[in-house]
C-alpha cells in the first residue's frame, strides 16, 4: 500500500482501535431528496461531530467543504459513481433498465480534499456485460487511486432477482473478493445473516471490512453492527439507520460507542 493511502486511511480509521463510523448521505445523487437529507447542510452540521467520515456526492462535497475544516473534523469520502438500481416500483421514475456509471475520478476526489473515494461493485446483474463494465470501472479507479495515493473503498451490493437467501453470503463473498483483487483498499459489505459467514468474508478480505447497512433502523441496526464487529468488522457504513432514525444524533452517538467500545 502506498504512503498516501495509508495516511489517508488513518484519517478516518482510528489508528488506536482500527475502527471507523462512516455516515453515507450521498443518496440524493441517486434518489433525489429523501427524508432526512432534504437539507443536507443541516444533516452534516448535526452529525459531523459523531462521525469519523461522511460520504458525499462530488457536487455536495465542494459546497459543504467548510464542515470538514480543522484537524478533528470528520474525513470526507467522495462518491465516484451513480446507479439507478435502488429505484424500485415505488419510486417516482422506476428504473426500467439497470444502469451504472462513473461520475468522479480519483483525481476529482483528491481535488476535493477527500480521504477516500467510494464506489459500488454490484453483483447479480442480468446482463454479464454490465458486470464486466462494473469490474472495468472499479479497476480503473483502483489504478488511479494507486497513482494518487487515495484509498478506494468498494461497496459490495448484491442486486436483482438472481440473488436468493441461499446464495446471499456467497454473492457478497464473490463481490468482496473480486473488488479486493481489483485493488480495493477497504470493503463495505452487507451483513450475511450470522457471525460465522461474515467472519469468513472478513478473514478472506485481508483489508478493512465495514458492515454496510444503509437500510435498517434500530434495533435491527445495532444487532447487525454488534455481530459484525464480533466477526471482525472494522466498523460500519450507515445511512438511513441514522438520518431516518427518530433521534439521528443520539443513534449515531450510540453506534459510535458500540464501534469504538466506549461504555
Amino acid at each position: 500500500m502506498s504512503y498516501g493511502k495509508a495516511l489517508r486511511l488513518s484519517e478516518f480509521i482510528d489508528p488506536e482501535d482500527g475502527r471507523s463510523v462512516i455516515v453515507e448521505i450521498d443518496q440524493g445523487l441517486m434518489l433525489g431528496p429523501i427524508t432526512g437529507i432534504v437539507d443536507l447542510e443541516e444533516t452534516v452540521r448535526e452529525l459531523r461531530s459523531e462521525a469519523d467520515a461522511i460520504v458525499l456526492s462530488p457536487g455536495q462535497a465542494g459546497r459543504l467543504i467548510h464542515h470538514f475544516r480543522g484537524k478533528m473534523a470528520p474525513a470526507l469520502l467522495v462518491r465516484a459513481d451513480w446507479a439507478n438500481v435502488f429505484r424500485n416500483e415505488t419510486f417516482v421514475l422506476p428504473a426500467r433498465k439497470v444502469r451504472h456509471i462513473t461520475v468522479a475520478s480519483a483525481k476529482d476526489a483528491i481535488a476535493l480534499g477527500a480521504s477516500a473515494i467510494i464506489a459500488f461493485f454490484f453483483v447479480g446483474w442480468e446482463d454479464d456485460e454490465d458486470e464486466a463494465r462494473n469490474m472495468g470501472s472499479v479497476a480503473m479507479l483502483a489504478g488511479e487511486s494507486n497513482r494518487l495515493g487515495v484509498p478506494l473503498l468498494v461497496e459490495c451490493v448484491p442486486i436483482g432477482e438472481r440473488i436468493t437467501e441461499v446464495n446471499y453470503a456467497k454473492c457478497v463473498d464473490l463481490a468482496m473478493r473480486m473488488s479486493v483483487e481489483a485493488g480495493a483498499d477497504a470493503i463495505a459489505a452487507p451483513y450475511t445473516g450470522n457471525i460465522e459467514s461474515f467472519r469468513r468474508i472478513v478473514d478472506a478480505a485481508k483489508v478493512p471490512v465495514f458492515v454496510l447497512d444503509t437500510d435498517k433502523v434500530t434495533p435491527g441496526l445495532f444487532k447487525v453492527v454488534t455481530e459484525a464487529l464480533e466477526a471482525g468488522a472494522s466498523g460500519v457504513v450507515v445511512g438511513r439507520g441514522v438520518f431516518q432514525a427518530a433521534e439521528p444524533v443520539k443513534t449515531l452517538k450510540e453506534l459510535r460507542n458500540v464501534v469504538h467500545k466506549k461504555a
Binding site: 495509508a6 495516511l7 488506536e16 467543504i65 470538514f68 475544516r69 484537524k71 481535488a111 476535493l112 495515493g149
Partner: protein, 436 residues
C-alpha cells in the same frame, strides 16, 4: 476563493479557530547533510510531535520513510519540501557552494501521493542574471499551477540571494518577493520577520495570504525568540516556522509547547516559559559566590516594569559591613536551610517556611501555587492594605506605587530573571533548568 481541496488541506495546517499555525521544519538534512538534530530524525520528530505542532516539513524521502508519524487525525499535517538548493552550504560545510544552484525534486502530484497537506519551495530573488531570475519565477508559477489543479496548498519561501542583494535592499526584496509569490498563486508565505512592526505589517497586507515567520533564528535565548514571535503576531503574522531551534533543542516537545502557548493560547512569554515547568522550583543561594553587584535586584525590578530600581525588587542583597554579602529571597521557596548575615540587622531572621504574607492577607489575594509552590497574587482581590509587605520579616515585598500593588516574588513563573542575570551563580534555582 480557494478550491475545496486547498480549503480542507489548509485547515489542517492553519487552525480554523485562530487562523494560525506552528510549523516545525526538519528538512535540513536534505540540503546540508547530517547536522545536529537530524542524526536520528525519527526520534527527534517523535519528541517534536509530543509538543503538538500543526505541521512538520520534511524532504520527500523522509515523508515516505517516516510517513507513519503523520497517521491519525491528531498527528501534525505533512508538508513536503519540493525543491532543493545548495544555497545554504556556506564555507563551514563540506563542499561549499561555488555558485547557487537549485532544482525541483518532486511534483505536487507526487506530494499528494505521499499524503501531503502542502508543499514548500523557495522563491529565489536577486540573481545577477535576469535569465536565471525568470527561470526561478517560472518554477514557482509551474508549481502553483499544478497545486491549483490538484487542490494542494502551496507555501512559498522568498529567499533574497545573489549578487544583487545588499543589506540595504534586503527588506524591500523580501516584501517584493512576498507579493510576487502571492500573485503567482502561493497560498501562504514563509518569510523572515523584517524586525520592524511597521514594515512587516505592510508586507503582510500586501501578501493577502497568511505569512509565517521563520522563528527567532538569531535570538540567543528562548525568551528573546518568543518575544520576536509575539511582536510578529501583533504585526499580522499567521504563525511561525521553527527549524534548528526545535530539532536541536534539548527537549523538542517542551520547545514546541512553549511556542504553541504563545501562538495559539495568547500567552505572554513569561506564561509560555512557565508553561514548561514540571515541578516545584526552589532557590539555591550560595553566599560565598555573591559579589554584591545587585544585578539580581535590577533584573527583578526591570522585568516587573519598575525600571532599574533595586528598591522595587522582590529580593535584595544584604551587606554585613565586613565585606560580606548575600542575596535574600522569599524564604518559602528556599531549597535548603538559610544562612543570613544578621550583623546588619539582628531582628532579621528567616521565618521557618511559613508564608507570613499569605497569612497576613485577609482578602484571599495571595495563594500558594498548588504544585509549584510559589506565591500567586490575585490583583482583583487586593485592597492595597499593605499588610503583606509589613508581615514579611525579610523586607522583600516592595510596593508598586503606580499600580498600587505589592511586588511579591512570583518566580517569574518559572524562569526567574534574577537567576538569569546572576553571573557569579550565587543565585540559582533547583528543579528547573535555566533557559538558553
Amino acid at each position: 476563493m480557494s478550491s475545496p481541496g486547498k480549503t480542507l488541506r489548509l485547515s489542517k495546517i492553519f487552525n480554523p479557530d485562530d487562523g494560525r499555525a506552528v510549523v516545525v521544519a526538519a528538512d535540513h538534512g536534505f540540503m546540508l547533510g547530517t547536522i545536529e538534530g537530524v542524526e536520528n530524525l525519527e526520534n527527534t520528530l517523535k519528541s517534536v510531535i509530543q509538543g503538538g505542532p500543526d505541521a512538520i516539513l520534511v524532504s520527500p524521502g523522509q515523508a515516505a520513510r517516516l510517513n507513519y508519524l503523520f497517521h491519525g487525525r491528531k498527528s501534525p499535517a505533512l508538508l513536503v519540501r519540493a525543491d532543493w538548493t545548495n544555497a545554504f552550504r556556506t564555507k563551514k560545510y563540506t563542499l561549499p557552494l561555488r555558485s547557487i544552484a537549485r532544482t525541483a525534486v518532486t511534483s505536487a502530484r507526487d506530494a499528494i501521493a505521499l499524503g501531503a497537506s502542502g508543499i514548500v519551495t523557495y522563491y529565489f530573488i536577486g540573481h545577477g542574471d535576469d535569465e536565471v531570475e525568470a527561470r526561478n519565477f517560472e518554477l514557482m508559477a509551474m508549481f502553483a499551477k499544478e497545486c491549483d489543479k490538484i487542490g494542494l496548498p502551496y507555501i512559498v519561501e522568498p529567499l533574497p540571494m545573489g549578487e544583487r542583494v545588499t543589506g540595504a535592499n534586503f527588506a524591500k526584496l523580501v516584501a517584493t518577493a512576498i507579493r510576487i509569490a502571492s500573485e503567482a498563486g502561493a497560498d501562504a508565505i514563509k518569510s523572515q520577520y523584517t524586525g520592524d512592526v511597521e514594515t512587516f505589517r505592510e508586507a503582510v497586507k500586501a501578501a493577502g495570504v497568511p505569512v509565517l515567520i521563520l522563528g527567532g533564528a538569531k535570538a540567543k535565548t528562548r525568551r528573546d525568540a518568543l518575544e520576536v514571535v509575539i511582536e510578529a503576531l501583533e504585526a499580522g503574522a499567521a504563525g511561525v516556522v521553527y527549524g534548528r531551534q526545535t530539532i536541536q533543542a534539548a527537549d523538542p516537545a517542551e520547545f514546541v509547547r512553549s511556542v504553541r502557548a504563545v501562538v495559539h493560547e495568547g500567552k505572554s512569554v513569561r506564561e509560555a516559559m512557565g508553561a514548561v515547568l514540571r515541578g516545584p522550583v526552589r532557590w539555591h543561594l550560595d553566599p560565598k559566590k555573591c559579589t554584591g553587584c545587585r544585578m539580581c535586584e535590577i533584573a527583578c525590578s526591570f522585568s516587573h516594569g519598575q525600571g532599574f530600581t533595586p528598591s522595587k525588587a522582590s529580593l535584595r542583597v544584604v551587606f554585613s559591613g565586613l565585606g560580606e554579602c548575600e542575596p535574600v529571597t522569599c524564604s518559602l521557596l528556599l531549597f535548603h536551610s538559610p544562612t543570613m548575615l544578621t550583623s546588619l540587622s539582628p531582628s532579621l531572621t528567616y521565618p521557618s517556611h511559613r508564608p507570613l504574607c499569605v497569612e497576613a492577607c485577609h482578602w484571599g489575594a495571595l495563594t500558594i501555587h498548588p504544585t509549584l509552590g510559589y506565591i500567586q497574587f490575585l490583583e482583583e482581590k487586593c485592597t492595597r492594605c499593605k499588610k503583606c509587605a509589613k508581615a514579611c520579616p525579610l523586607v522583600v515585598i516592595p510596593f508598586d506605587e503606580e499600580n498600587k500593588i505589592p511586588l511579591i516574588c512570583d518566580m517569574c513563573e518559572g524562569t526567574p530573571a534574577c537567576v538569569e542575570w546572576c553571573d557569579s551563580e550565587a543565585l540559582t534555582i533547583v528543579g528547573q533548568k535555566s533557559e538558553g
